[in-house]
Symmetry: C2
Subunit: 361 residues, 2 copies
């Protein structure tokens, strides 16, 4: 490379310019995008995903695509990301689709659903089962594109100050639990709410809430919840929580083709990577829990509570489908896919795990 002469290259460039040329010009322009994330600054794993995305986009574009990220501490609107990206105040966002269900009900279905798909099943639905198209159909009227933004893996059922021994214990329970799971619990008499990550600990400590679910061992233990709510329940409600990259459509359209592909690829890779990072961190943190947090009591909801949750869940799904044709289209697509893919999960990974366990001495 070093032996090439400058004059030759300048001449070659000039020829290109006089031929088709415009893509070549774009190569010299730096595109600076601003992203708002729902999370507080230095938030582990969730905050790593957009930063990893921005870093590889920068490196692959040789510095032509620069994405800066504002945390909730700066923009002060953790649950205002949808609006800020829609208005163009930010080019991009990193958040979770189900946070917008109060604004656009059908955004609810693109994060995770109670009793729904596990992570590889849900990625199958997004990328090969029609999920991405349905998600764009929901977001397009708002001038937004939505992409998977990183998966937490199967989430734990949350931290409780009191044990849940029966359906009665759910009555009046004030719990931070977003998405559809909150609606399910509301139907069973609980009082669900959503609170952004930065305020969770204080809300639980001050008894503004009696319980909360956040993620799982990958993140929960460092949040300190075990100090104020010792019962840690296994999961039912978020088997595959997928975060979200939001992009303003005007920003998307103004990017040259190569940078658009770099952005798409960086988002997709960062989301898969977060799934694996979460899996790893969950394993690591779970392993230390027994020794470092001996007061945590791991519990499973009683079967009659789970049966009631599942029934309430199905009734709510049926209501949603009856109210809105697009909701029905999405829910039918998920149900059909789940039915098909779960058979494979059961004959492959689940049968394998069962079989390995049965051989243990």
């Amino acid at each position: 490379m070093k032996s090439l002469k400058l004059t030759t290259l300048v001449a070659a460039t000039a020829v290109t310019l006089s031929a088709i040329s415009l893509p070549a010009f774009a190569a010299d322009r730096v595109y600076k995008l601003k992203m708002a994330e729902t999370w507080s600054s230095n938030f582990p794993i969730f905050g790593d995903a957009p930063r990893n995305m921005a870093r590889i986009a920068d490196e692959m574009s040789n510095g032509r695509l620069k994405i800066t990220i504002d945390s909730a501490n700066k923009h002060k609107a953790p649950l205002g990301v949808f609006d800020m990206v829609r208005s163009g105040q930010y080019d991009m966002g990193h958040s979770a689709s189900y946070y917008w269900k109060g604004k656009v009900p059908n955004t609810l279905y693109f994060t995770t659903m109670p009793f729904g798909m596990i992570t590889p099943e849900q990625y199958g639905w997004f990328y090969y089962g029609g999920g991405m198209d349905l998600m764009q159909k929901v977001y397009k009227p708002f001038g937004l594109l939505s992409f998977p933004g990183g998966n937490t893996g199967n989430q734990m059922g949350g931290w409780f100050q009191k044990e849940i021994n029966s359906l009665d214990d759910l009555k009046g329970l004030k719990m931070r639990i977003p998405g559809f799971a909150g609606e399910v619990l509301a139907k069973l008499g609980a009082k669900p709410t959503n609170i952004a990550s930065g305020e969770l600990y204080t809300a639980l400590e001050r008894r503004t809430i009696d319980a909360l679910e956040w993620v799982g061992p990958s993140l929960d233990l460092r949040m300190g919840f075990h100090k104020i709510a010792p019962y840690y329940y296994t999961g039912w409600h978020e088997p595959a929580t997928e975060l979200q990259f939001l992009v303003n459509e005007r920003t998307w359209k103004k990017l040259p083709d190569d940078l658009r592909e770099i952005l798409r690829t960086s988002m997709k890779l960062a989301s898969y990577d977060m799934y694996i990072q979460s899996y790893h961190e969950s394993a690591e943190n779970w392993a230390t829990m027994k020794t470092e947090y001996p007061n945590v009591q791991v519990k499973t909801f009683p079967k009659d509570v789970l049966v009631a949750m599942r029934k309430a869940n199905q009734e709510l799904l049926d209501e949603k489908a009856a109210e809105d044709p697009l909701a029905k289209e999405i829910l039918d697509s998920q149900a059909d896919y789940l039915k098909k893919v779960r058979v494979w999960t059961n004959i492959s990974d689940r049968a394998y795990l069962d079989s390995v366990d049965s051989l243990a001495e």
Copy 2:
């Protein structure tokens, strides 16, 4: 952008050239890499992974990174990919690490291991548990870099012309089964061999072999094996088969930083994508099997056969570790990681799947 004048841009380019300039020159050069794949042409899923990789690398680099792929039909050496990339005859390869165990024994451990990790666990080990470093340690002496190349998910145990009812049925059984699983079966009296994909059907049809394992429903049904070997066994031996991208180190070093990052990202994304594609295709194909291939008989190996396989597996692992310090380092790393991560798999996805099933009416 269209309002910019050509003369201004040519001048701007010239200024850049006279300033620091070399990275700018690299931006105008096209890097053409040649890749050899182990698979025959038009091979589904396995062949999609390198092509998806090449396509996104091309798009992200605006045509500056061009990767052409030769199938086994062309280079005639499906199991010669390691040597051809090592010698520089090809810049890259797409294959599977355990195919090289006869040449470099420690390459065996970077595909999948019997009774070992499932796919998200193994990606955790590769990217966060030290697996990538160990893999590079094995490949570096040969001037090669190895990267994950796409996961098939949990594989089926294979197609058999006769049922396996006891350990006696394994004695003398001629089976196509590569990797460590072949060694396990050999210890139990079978005669394992490896045969490249293009020759599998003929070998089974002509009774050169009595049985074979290939992948799972994602690929096996279209290969037609069910026509000549009706017994289809569930898996034990390849819980997370990861294919491989090989890169000649000289090629890697001569790429400019941005293209090297584009190549790294394209390979990583294509490998994750193949996992999800395989999961999807397995679910789709499994769903049609019952109606379209009613003669397929799905079987599970008897427990005493599985117990003997597991025992033989552990004895062989202990032998490998005793023979070679690097093998011991790799195997210890895998065993430690598996022990930790499986606890999380069991409390999360497995417990969730069990619980959902227990509620079914």
